[in-house]
């Protein structure tokens, strides 16, 4: 039986969208969503759900969409996912629900991400709010960090009746959703709306509170029955090579924080500036590299290169991001690795020395291992270099918690119930894993909420 093709997602034209920061996908209409949902064959044993870190009721949600019961679909998706409009946009669906969708073998998988984004957007436009009657249980939990893990843990605990306070270091809530992912991938009105739900159900979000700096961790320990550390992995990694101190060399974090959190693309209407040259090299090929490259393009760069030591087929970036980057004219230079950077007498970067690589064997995850090809160095002229090499757990907070055990690479150690070596103190998200996806962090926050609830109940 021939299976109908996916209902295509309408998108902003690449030529136009590189001049703005608005959403690239335009979203399904109700008709399109229903048509796409009707492609679902409603498997007896839905493999899509096993691929979901927050265990969403995917099959039934799709059925409700197919039956045009959008309101019910929305409430069902909210049951397991505090922020479906966000995950619908940023999850690596091809590795999760859509990757294991039965239709993936014979045709094209159901566009689950876009369907869920549709339902959430529909509810937002209609202003449907999930009615939750919280029965206070008199217990209090503090959550450090208002990113995906913290948000999910907060919502789950609040639903169980806990008084929940989130302490966020930055002046805006959302963590990586706010400072990392650009608005053309995740519009900020979507983020604001999803976060407003937390306030509606009575989660207290304290901004500008850097635990360990303006509030002591010991104060939290005294006041709360449990603590969840979800401080993320926001510390940038650098190559440690010559020339990294030059002006015009950014960490992807700095580049993205300037653009996303501080809205430097609106400078001088917003105060924080950014300097992006004509020839930009982005080192790395993950989602963050794609985000940085596509931001650079939108800031007016003439040529933006992705510099990667493998090929894009082995890249950690989502397929959609690579595809969008290609459409926007981002140039992929594969099988090359950086050696050092050069600058002029004013201290500005002018170029980078790269070396060619070849594959030799595979690592334990089956990814081919690149090795340098001797004497194959060459120079690329660049006026902006962005390091997108991944991030490490934020060490500011960790250094402020006496006695908290961490791994040598900076991640927090926990037992199988996400509890650290300090009783009652749990940890999760990227602070635990060192960096993964929004949805993995959310799954973590969800599991931790269960563990915290069990711990507090056992204690009392």
């Amino acid at each position: 039986m021939a299976i109908a093709k996916r209902v295509p997602m309408r998108e902003q034209d690449p030529k136009i969208r590189i001049t703005n920061f608005d959403s690239v996908p335009l979203g399904y209409s109700a008709e399109e969503a229903v048509k796409e949902a009707k492609r679902c064959i409603q498997c007896k044993v839905p493999s899509c759900e096993t691929g979901c870190p927050v265990r969403m009721d995917i099959k039934n949600i799709i059925k409700l969409i197919a039956d045009e019961k959008f309101e019910e679909a929305f409430f069902l998706s909210k049951k397991d996912n505090a922020v479906p409009a966000i995950t619908g946009r940023v999850c690596p669906q091809e590795d999760q629900c859509e990757g294991v969708c039965v239709l993936n073998k014979t045709g094209e998988p159901i566009n689950i991400g876009k369907l869920f984004a549709f339902v959430a957007d529909w509810a937002r436009e209609k202003d449907f709010v999930e009615q939750i009657n919280v029965k206070e249980n008199g217990k209090k939990v503090a959550i450090v960090g208002c990113g995906p893990a913290g948000i999910t843990c907060a919502v789950d605990l609040r639903k169980l009746g806990y008084g929940v306070t989130i302490f966020e270091a930055l002046h805006m809530a959302g963590g990586v959703l706010q400072y990392g992912i650009p608005p053309f991938r995740l519009p900020r009105d979507v983020v604001d709306y999803e976060l407003s739900f937390l306030k509606k159900i009575g989660v207290d979000i304290q901004l500008n509170q850097i635990v360990g700096q303006n509030i002591g961790f010991d104060e939290l320990q005294k006041e709360y029955d449990g603590i969840y550390i979800a401080t993320g992995a926001g510390a940038p990694r650098f190559l440690g090579c010559e020339g990294e101190k030059l002006k015009g060399v950014y960490s992807a974090n700095e580049f993205l924080i300037r653009v996303n959190l501080m809205k430097a693309y609106k400078f001088p209407d917003c105060d924080t500036p950014i300097i992006c040259g004509d020839n930009v090299g982005v080192i790395g090929c993950g989602n963050v590299a794609m985000d940085a490259a596509r931001c650079a393009k939108r800031l007016g760069a003439k040529k933006v290169y992705i510099l990667y030591r493998r090929t894009r087929e082995c890249a950690p970036a989502r397929n959609e991001e690579i595809h969008h980057a290609e459409e926007e004219g981002i140039l992929f230079r594969e099988m090359i690795a950086p050696c050092k950077m050069f600058g002029n007498e004013d201290g500005w970067v002018t170029g980078i020395q790269m070396i060619k690589t070849e594959f030799k064997g595979c690592d334990k995850n089956g990814r081919p291992t690149p090795v340098y090809i001797k004497d194959s160095e060459f120079i690329m002229e660049l006026d902006t270099v962005i390091n997108a090499l991944g991030t490490s757990p934020n060490r500011l907070f960790l250094s402020n918690v006496k006695g908290l055990e961490t791994h040598s690479w900076g991640g927090i150690k926990t037992d199988e119930n996400f509890m650290t070596n300090i009783p009652g103190v749990f940890a999760g998200g990227d602070a635990l894993t060192g960096g993964s996806t929004v949805i993995e962090a959310m799954g973590n926050g969800r599991n931790a909420a269960e563990a915290i609830d069990e711990f507090v109940n056992r204690k009392t």
């Binding site: 500008n208 960490s251 609106k266 300097i275």
Partner: protein, 280 residues
């Protein structure tokens, strides 16, 4: 939290001070810390030295230099600052050093001078010498804002000799180093003189802590903009500093990186001036 301005005073033609309510910062401030200010929504997050903390308020020194400080200068007593975050940074040890000199030549350095002298003088065994230098007598702060009350010895210098000792703090310090046994030097203010003071103290084999001011974005260790190179190792001024052993700092990089957004600062000022014209 409302960060209300409770006092505002002129220090000289370009510098001014404000007292502002910021209990979180005030309660936990240790000299060597700084705070982060956001003056308006969509404003920058700017790192700021703290002169002192009393009760719920902190005292800050500003120089009218760029858009943000001009906006701050327009605020009056009773107005609010959008956000004040901190205290941030890792202060050097607050302990007995012996004879200590703090030298400063610029607004932020003068604030740090007061704060550090004040706390170190309370530790038995410390003898505190404060040096403050200004270009001319017209630039010298009002007496009560100079560090005299918090130091055992106070030396005021002007570069043209119109008031106090003639010279920059570097000249004053060199004389002291020649004549007396100094155990520890601290310095804050303009960056090029900090490189010089590092060279000078190295010559006399006296340790020095210098405030390595760098451009920060979030100031919580996330962006890496304020990276400084200490003995070749990368550190972040926002969480590892901003006070570092001056003998180990890569000053060339620190001085260069500080100028990265010069061209944009002018654009921001022009934009503000345009807006102000509209207001008039």
């Amino acid at each position: 939290m409302k960060h209300t301005i409770t006092r505002k005073e002129v220090l000289n033609g370009a510098d001014f001070l404000i007292d502002v309510v910021a209990p979180g910062v005030a309660k936990r401030f240790v000299p060597g810390n700084f705070c982060v200010l956001i003056t308006i929504p969509n404003g920058e997050r700017i790192p700021m030295s703290i002169q002192k903390a009393e009760g719920d308020t902190i005292s800050l020194f500003f120089k009218k230099l760029g858009k943000t400080s001009f906006e701050l200068d327009m605020k009056k007593v009773g107005d609010e600052i959008y956000k004040i975050i901190g205290p941030m940074g890792s202060p050097p040890p607050i302990k007995k050093y012996g004879t200590v000199v703090f030298a400063s030549d610029l607004v932020c350095g003068h604030a740090e001078n007061w704060a550090m002298c004040d706390i170190l003088r309370k530790i038995p065994g410390n003898h505190i010498i404060s040096i403050q230098s200004f270009p001319t007598s017209a630039d010298v702060y009002p007496d009560k804002e100079l560090c005299e009350p918090v130091a055992d010895e106070f030396i005021l210098a002007t570069e043209d000799g119109s008031r106090g000792v003639k010279g920059h703090y570097l000249d004053v310090l060199e004389k002291l180093l020649k004549e007396r046994k100094i155990d520890q030097v601290f310095a804050g203010g303009g960056i090029p003189p900090l490189q010089k003071i590092s060279e000078l103290t190295k010559k006399y084999n006296v340790p020095v802590y210098t405030t390595v001011r760098q451009i920060m974005v979030d100031a919580t260790g996330m962006c890496g903009s304020c990276r400084v190179f200490i003995d070749g190792e990368q550190k972040l001024a926002c969480i590892d500093g901003p006070m570092f052993d001056g003998h180990k700092v890569d000053w060339e990089a620190a001085i260069s990186r500080l100028t990265m957004f010069k061209s944009k600062e002018a654009v921001a000022m022009d934009c503000l001036n345009e807006k102000m014209k509209g207001v008039k």
